[in-house]
């Protein structure tokens, strides 16, 4: 892991998504695939705004749900990895200081 510059995540702007009953449905129009997130996944999804790293997202998750910081971090990283491989999230462009 690169420790010097944290990676910020943002949603792929080409997606359609919708929260319903605390769950989230995401459609990727290019391949017409539907994805679903449960409540904690939806919580993370809402907070993926191009300004937070995996660690910051995990902190928010741990603060809002009954989950240990370690579990929150590993789950958040796993989710981002999975979603990144499916191009649902992308790295936010570096803005500099």
């Amino acid at each position: 892991m690169n420790t010097s510059a944290p990676v910020f995540w943002q949603k792929n702007p080409a997606l359609a998504w919708r929260e319903i009953d605390d769950e989230t449905v995401i459609i990727s129009p290019q391949d017409s695939v539907m994805h679903e997130l449960n409540d904690t996944g939806s919580f993370l999804w809402k907070n993926i705004d191009g300004r937070k790293s995996a660690a910051e997202l995990a902190e928010l998750l741990a603060a809002n749900y009954e989950v240990t910081p370690d579990a929150a971090l590993s789950d958040t990283q796993a989710l981002l990895e999975e979603m990144s491989s499916r191009k649902l999230v992308v790295n936010a462009p570096e803005t500099g200081e």
């Binding site: 702007p13 080409a14 997606l15 359609a16 998504w17 919708r18 319903i20 009953d21 769950e23 449905v25 459609i27 129009p29 290019q30 391949d31 017409s32 695939v33 539907m34 994805h35 679903e36 997130l37 449960n38 904690t40 996944g41 993370l44 998750l61 749900y65 989950v67 579990a71 929150a72 590993s74 789950d75 958040t76 796993a78 989710l79 999975e82 979603m83 499916r86």
Partner: protein, 241 residues
């Protein structure tokens, strides 16, 4: 087990080639659509609002005109009409669904499911004249009420389509079983039921957002059910009024 659950589900049927295998196009309905939409001036050289190509047949839709080029048979026209209608309905708060629609007590019962789930079976068990379609249902929200319309798109049943509509009683996901039973669905489960069966062909993000908005509203406002049914007419007895 992690707390964050992410799942990727089946493909949305709209983009499957399988969907483009057409049923029967009722030529009179087709011409009605085209004439209705061709009442404006032509748009020579202009970029269409929506375009689609399917096996050499091309659809271009402008604000006041729709053009079909390279149509060599009724099946190509049928396919492009489905595509066109799915796009056009966005602006009319509606969508096309792989579903049979049966009218009973002046209400529309929508039966959805993949090929082989029993749409045509349900249609064949319904009284004569009560089936709006056994293949593609059209749902639209008008004055706060969801209505189902007949379409010119048919599967095995091949009855004459009827240009009529009725308020929607519910959407029923067909599951073949040994006994007849209905189970009420939460909006998310209803959305999960309809999404894979919606016909939609645009890869444009904004159009998909609009569609999702419409489907979300439909899932919240239309009662959704799992319908386990035996292949006989007795399942009607367990349906809600």
């Amino acid at each position: 087990m992690g707390v964050v659950v992410f799942s990727t589900r089946e493909h949305i049927r709209g983009a499957d080639v399988e969907d483009l295998i057409p049923g029967i196009a009722l030529v009179s309905s087709v011409f009605l659509v085209i004439q209705f939409l061709n009442d404006g001036a032509t748009a020579e050289g202009a970029l269409p609002d929506f375009g689609y190509e399917f096996e050499g047949a091309v659809l271009r839709a402008f604000s006041n005109q729709i053009c079909f080029d390279g149509i060599r048979n009724q099946y190509a026209l049928d396919s492009l009409l489905r595509i066109f209608l799915s796009w056009k309905l966005l602006g009319h708060h509606g969508f096309l669904l792989h579903a049979a629609t049966v009218i009973r007590n002046k209400k529309a019962y929508i039966f959805t499911g993949r090929s082989g789930a029993g749409k045509s079976t349900v249609a064949s068990l319904a009284p004569e004249g009560s089936v709006l379609t056994d293949e593609i249902s059209l749902l639209r929200r008008e004055d706060g009420i969801w209505r189902a319309y007949g379409t010119p798109f048919w599967g095995e049943f091949r009855a004459a389509g009827s240009n009529t509509s009725a308020p929607v009683a519910g959407i029923f996901r067909l599951l073949q079983a040994a006994e007849n039973r209905v189970e009420s669905l939460r909006p998310m489960a209803t959305l999960r039921t309809i999404l894979p069966n919606v016909l939609f062909f645009s890869a444009e993000a904004e159009a998909n957002r609009q569609l999702l908005e419409i489907l979300n509203q439909a899932a919240k406002e239309i009662a959704g059910y799992n319908l386990s049914f035996r292949k006989d007419g007795a399942f009607w007895e367990v349906l809600p009024e």
